[in-house]
């Protein structure tokens, strides 16, 4: 079983462990536009990029490898021009880009949790066989962000509430929704690392540190990454 945390006495929350295991399973399986093997490879390249290492890979298009590296180590300097060039490159599309971003950021987040606590990184999962579904939601719509998003009525059943009262959620919640499963994934790892979407509207106590302490850390991390959002 991955993420056993047997080598540490630190009190890792069960929801965190669940979210990590779920993420590894999601990464290992075929998505809409990448195979399981390609998705695990995306996570491998992302892990190496954090060490400023650039492993060779024959599984991914060159533009995908470059995009992974930019997302991990040069995220403060992404631009619309770069995005448009990336999705127009050989082997890339808007849909493949969004799925790639989701795999990169979720795998990176779990690795960063381990690094912050001085824990060994979890071995990446074995990929599952199967083909991507290659299904683009009919409701995909170009709104405010570079890739199209999917409004509430295009999400998977049961996930519509994650957008709240609007027909799309806060911009960062809907940003990866061109792959609707990403909205649930975003939520579940948020709950494991930070707060669930519902908890974000609730008063303290929510975690062992206070909400102002949580948001101060969040603001500092955002500032260090030069993230305006």
């Amino acid at each position: 079983m991955p993420f056993a945390y047997a080598a540490t006495d630190l009190p890792i929350r069960p929801k965190t462990v669940d979210a990590h295991r779920q993420s590894w399973e999601i990464i290992a399986n075929p998505g809409r536009w990448w195979t399981g093997a390609e998705r695990v490879e995306i996570a491998r390249v992302a892990r190496a990029a954090r060490d400023f290492d650039a492993p060779t890979t024959e599984l991914l298009p060159e533009a995908a490898v470059y995009a992974i590296q930019k997302l991990v180590v040069d995220n403060a300097n992404l631009s619309r021009e770069w995005y448009e060039e990336t999705v127009a490159s050989e082997g890339m599309t808007e849909d493949r880009y969004v799925e790639l971003v989701a795999v990169v950021v979720h795998a990176l987040s779990i690795d960063e949790f381990h690094r912050a606590l001085g824990l060994e990184l979890e071995p990446l999962p074995e990929s599952a066989s199967g083909e991507p579904t290659r299904e683009r939601p009919a409701q995909a719509d170009q709104r405010y962000s570079w890739p199209p998003i999917v409004p509430k009525d295009g999400l998977n059943p049961g996930d519509e509430m994650l957008y709240g009262p609007l027909d799309w959620g806060a911009n960062v919640i809907s940003a990866l929704s061109l792959i609707p499963e990403n909205v649930r994934w975003l939520h579940d790892l948020s709950e494991g690392h930070y707060l669930s979407f519902a908890e974000m509207r609730q008063p303290d106590p929510l975690r062992a540190i206070s909400r102002p302490q949580i948001e101060l850390i969040a603001a500092r991390v955002s500032a260090l990454n030069e993230c305006f959002y």
Binding site: S109, F113, A116, H193, L224, F228
Partner: protein, 116 residues
């Protein structure tokens, strides 16, 4: 979110937002300097990280350390979603932060271009 949560907790008067962007400024949040130093060491992966982990575990507690690491990990993800998709500020955030973004120097960030 920092200002809003401080308002809800009744500590808005002591909050100094510069503490979020300037490590030399006291945020006014309890243990804020220790927590932001930990966040910076984790993001930048500096040699200070092990010592800061020990201090948080000793001064706040091991669950507090784990929860702080979770927040770092979460926002290492969220910033990349935001900047990787070029999303603009939400309208309510834009309105609520209109008075502080210049003071904090946020318009110098390249990703400010995503918000008209």
């Amino acid at each position: 979110m920092l200002r809003e949560s401080s308002k809800r907790s009744g500590s808005l008067d002591s909050l100094n937002l510069q503490g979020a962007v300037d490590p030399g400024s006291d945020s006014g949040v309890p243990h804020g300097s220790l927590l932001t130093a930990f966040a910076e060491a984790a993001v930048r992966r500096t040699d200070a990280l092990p010592g800061l982990r020990e201090r948080i575990a000793a001064e706040l507690g091991p669950q507090e350390l784990v929860d702080a690491a979770g927040v770092v990990a979460n926002f290492q993800r969220m910033v990349r979603i935001a900047d990787g998709c070029g999303i603009p500020l939400d309208e309510f955030t834009r309105d609520a932060t209109d008075d502080v973004r210049d003071d904090l120097g946020l318009h110098a960030f390249a990703s400010a271009a995503n918000t008209a």
